[in-house]
């Protein structure tokens, strides 16, 4: 075990790197699900934004501009999903899956047309704090967009749990009929939640591209959107536990990459499956106690 201890800093660092894009998107997915939309298109939001980030960074020559471009791109996918699911009443899973297929096809197609190149934002290292033992380097030497999580996490929590908007949003997710009777526009709130989800998932995807990887590869999100959904389920629709889930999944991924290099034989299939298994187990064990939004994935239509 000595080699794991010796490499703990490296493993934690890569764990945080792998968890950060999930954390951004999970912040968004959490809001969408609290409003009652099980948003499968989070994968499309991340992938489209990742592509857009590298493309915009190439056009403007600024990786930061690329990162910011991810926000409106993710929001556009959220807008499309909201229109399909809440205006046209297409099954929300179907809307999400079709959008995932569309964005995957579109980005793969455009990738073959032109060169995108490499673009990456700068790494920052916080003086003094980075010298802390074990946690110093992983927490305080990162690409700077990671630290956007610091304001975004409390903001998301406050919006959902403490603001009036969040109250109406949660009502839309718990009991849309009652919410409608009190004058809340259920489907409008759900669409707005999807926009927030798109903005943050877009930021997560863009961060993945211009923050960690520095380039765009075909299907580079590779199911991370589904992992985000698993994290929200694993977290029992609570923001704190959802983020703990993201950290856990990131760490499992880091171990999958690190352990073989350290000479340990691990079953990589089991480690890849772990998040999905954990999410299923969490649902099986805690469904009755869990605060699952009561109207999650149920469409709402005003009785006319």
């Amino acid at each position: 075990m000595s080699s794991i201890a010796a490499n703990l800093e490296t493993i934690l660092s890569s764990g945080i790197r792998l968890a950060a894009p999930l954390a951004f998107a999970a912040c968004g997915e959490y809001v969408a699900e609290r409003a009652g939309t099980l948003n499968v298109s989070v994968e499309a939001m991340m992938l489209g934004a990742a592509f857009g980030a590298i493309a915009v960074a190439g056009l403007t020559g600024s990786a930061t501009a690329g990162l910011l471009a991810g926000v409106p791109l993710g929001t556009v996918v959220g807008l499309a999903h909201g229109t399909l699911a809440h205006r046209w009443h297409i099954n929300t899973f179907v809307a999400g899956l079709v959008l995932n297929a569309l964005v995957l096809g579109l980005t793969s197609y455009l990738l073959t047309v032109g060169e995108l190149g490499r673009h990456q934002v700068a790494q920052v290292s916080v003086p003094v704090l980075r010298d802390l033992p074990v946690l110093g380097t992983p927490l305080f030497t990162e690409r700077w967009p990671v630290y956007l999580l610091l304001p975004l996490l409390p903001l998301t929590w406050w919006l959902v749990e403490r603001s009036r908007w969040g109250l109406e949003l949660r009502a839309a997710g718990e009991n849309p009929q009652a919410a409608d009777m009190t004058g809340i526009r259920v489907n409008l709130r759900r669409r707005q939640a999807l926009l927030w989800c798109g903005a943050l998932a877009g930021l997560g995807g863009a961060y993945l591209a211009v923050g960690e990887v520095g380039s765009f590869n075909q299907n580079m999100t590779a199911g991370r959107g589904y992992l985000v959904i698993a994290a929200v389920i694993f977290g029992g629709w609570r923001l704190g536990r959802t983020l703990a889930g993201c950290a856990l999944f990131g760490l499992a991924d880091a171990l999958r990459l690190a352990l073989p290099a350290l000479g340990y034989t691990v079953n990589s299939q089991l480690l890849i499956s772990a998040p999905y298994l954990l999410a299923l187990l969490a649902m099986l064990l805690f469904t009755t106690r869990q605060r699952r939004p009561a109207a999650l994935a149920q469409p709402f239509r005003r009785p006319s």
């Binding site: 099980l38 499968v40 399909l84 046209w88 009443h89 297409i90 099954n91 899973f93 179907v94 899956l97 079709v98 959008l99 297929a101 569309l102 995957l104 096809g105 579109l106 793969s108 197609y109 455009l110 073959t112 047309v113 199911g223 589904y226 959904i229 698993a230 389920i233 079953n267 299939q269 089991l270 890849i272 499956s273 999905y276 298994l277 999410a279 299923l280 649902m283 099986l284 064990l285 469904t287 009755t288 999650l296 994935a297």
Partner: protein, 341 residues
Amino acid sequence: MTRTEPWLPAATTAAALALSALLITATGGSPTAALQALIQGSLGDPTAISQTLLYAAPLLLVAVGTCCSTRSGAFNIGQEGQVLIGALAGATAGLRLAAPEPALPLVVLLAAALAAGTWAWLSALMHRLRGVDIAVSTLLTTFLAQQAVAYAVTTPWLLQESRLGAAAALPQSNTLPPAALLGSLGDHPALQLNLGLAVALAAALLAAVTLDRTRWGLRLTMTGLNPAAAQHAGVPVAAVNAAALATSGALAGMAGAVLLTSPLSTNRLQPDLSINIGWDGLLVALIARNRPLLTIPVAALFAALRAGGSFLAATGVPPYLVDVVKALLTLALVAGRWSHE
């Protein structure tokens, strides 16, 4: 209930195709050349038609199953994983079971159906016991299925026993014995038709008759339309849901076995064997409004796009265009139907 403007699907489809053409033009390709390639690659000659029909069989199987589960109100989105589980069970049966040779293809198909049906049924069980949402659990189990297949083909003792040593790292199983492969239907000069298509068409007909003409079908449809009323009328709602979901999984599993044993694949189990047939089959059922007979033309269209896609590269248009066209077509046909509800 549904008011459909007859011109709307046509208009939205035209818009989707125009958007695709615009995309080709904007990226320096020729839409007419691309269209010609798609038609040539899917219908141009007997080989192309064979390709289309070979793709149509597994798509149709997945779609017909999806019709059953969706109509019962159990929303299955794990077909991609069920296809893989079917292929895994089919490969295991084909490589390990000492069945008499003429029965081997049937054994492969049945093993696939049984395994994937049980796999899907587990989601119904989780729903029954703990209220776990079926759509969520079928989605999550898809990723477990992918890893199960990856594990099976990278582990020497499971499906690779004869290739120990340097070759054992190759992520694929041994080749299935020729006796396990689906036989072709008669001797056609160039047309490759196999049993898969016959099985799929039979499944579509059977499902259409069962769903629309039998007491079983009525109970299933009642369950989907209004579970509370169905329960009140004495329909065992949970059992109907479970049966419909298991049927859907079993048909998706058979699609996996058909993929594994048809000339479309190398007849080895590989992690990417399912090539999105499960996701596409779901879209086919969606466009066909969960009517088994309507899935036949829609599956043929999706199969033609797949077969034609391989011809696109020659015109300089990336074959990924086919995925864009499929998604846009689905959106067009679905949006065209629902926007005036």
